[in-house]
Symmetry: C2
Subunit: 266 residues, 2 copies
Amino acid sequence: MTGYSRSAETRKIAAEIDLCEVMETAAEAVVGADLVILCVPVGAMGAAAKEIAPYLKEGAIVSDVGSVKTEVIEAVYPHLGDRFIPAHPIAGTEHSGPRAGFAELFDGRWLLLTPLENSSKQAVAALRKFWEEMGSDVDEMDPQHHDLVLAVTSHAPHLIAFTMVGVADDLGRVTSSEVVNYSAAGFRDFTRIAASDPTMWRDIFLNNRDAVLEVLGRFNEDLSELQRAVRRGDGDKLHRLFSSTRDVRRGILELGQDRKRKPSKK
Amino acid sequence: MTGYSRSAETRKIAAEIDLCEVMETAAEAVVGADLVILCVPVGAMGAAAKEIAPYLKEGAIVSDVGSVKTEVIEAVYPHLGDRFIPAHPIAGTEHSGPRAGFAELFDGRWLLLTPLENSSKQAVAALRKFWEEMGSDVDEMDPQHHDLVLAVTSHAPHLIAFTMVGVADDLGRVTSSEVVNYSAAGFRDFTRIAASDPTMWRDIFLNNRDAVLEVLGRFNEDLSELQRAVRRGDGDKLHRLFSSTRDVRRGILELGQDRKRKPSKK
């Protein structure tokens, strides 16, 4: 397995930890490969596709791991055409860089394929097999629908967590150590989310703008309603709203139990 | 140890699992006790204090576990005076009721005491010792400051999580099973938060209104700024904002490592 990163530092670390055979150019990394996976921020996918296109062997499949699909397809398709089969593994931590990987990262996690109209069925099947062998559960989805689902389950929640952590830091009367020591589980979750890679997230918001803005618009409306209930001391309304959210969560828990997780392949 | 709950169902379960000696009235539960702890939603503290006051023995200490302190003190002090020493264990899960407890719940978690001006030093020391023996790290804080710290580390984040989970549920084009299956770690954290007890949370917001509204006001301002940057496609601004949040988190992580957690007392 070969790999390439534009960053010399990343190449150095990848070689040190023996992550793969580290090449000095993108061209060398893709020559002769059956499968190439683009693992760069979504805003850099187009340039990466353009750079490797001339060096791909006949029949090579190119895929990616971007959290946005529609705009990535628009950026990559002109360079690769139907060799490109977009994918998104819903896995990862707040850590980034070559040292952030671990063998079980994809075990029992979903991998969404968003094939194009003319994608080769054989190539899609091969990519599915690749990810299943990494431990993933694979599903297929339309790219536009993928971007809406991820806006609500990941992108908007990240923006909200980023914001709340910033508010805590700016509130002069509360010290950082008070924030650390006295944060309930909920806020600790927020701060962990807010530690993710800024470039990756910038690109996600620039490339999934419409879906994210739709979800945030609804969020703002609903938060205003709750905020007004707090201001007015409307306990009945607060209780009703909190109870319904609790029911949603119960539904989610029941569904979650139905879903059988694959045993970990350690 | 004796216990009482207004709910017959709760008393029945508590007796079944042998949680304590379950009494049929609050009066019976407190008679002869050296220490009484009020574990009811913060809006019910005043009534509970009034109900037990006539039955307390000379020198009994009364404390509580409410997530809000200023309004609880206002409600309880008229009935108990300086016998009342307010406290807040920063521990718990999204589950509630007698079956939700477990032996390690307080191990290495903070317990904030917010003593009153005339609280007996001896009584405060005794209460501190009680919680330390439960495994908690104990700190003292002014009640008003406690309420601001908790507004930013717990109350506002909860309101935000509740709201976001409701948005996901209302977005008709995304199914519940898609929300469950394809939610990144961040959103799973939100849904867990949103499953907490609605009565407890209603009372928190009714009783810590000013601090919560201050924090939400700042949150709305900052979220609007990020939202505008997304709408305008201002990548530099997004990157700058995300980078600064990341630094806050780094600071938090470093502080967190300094703090030595007590070994668990299993």
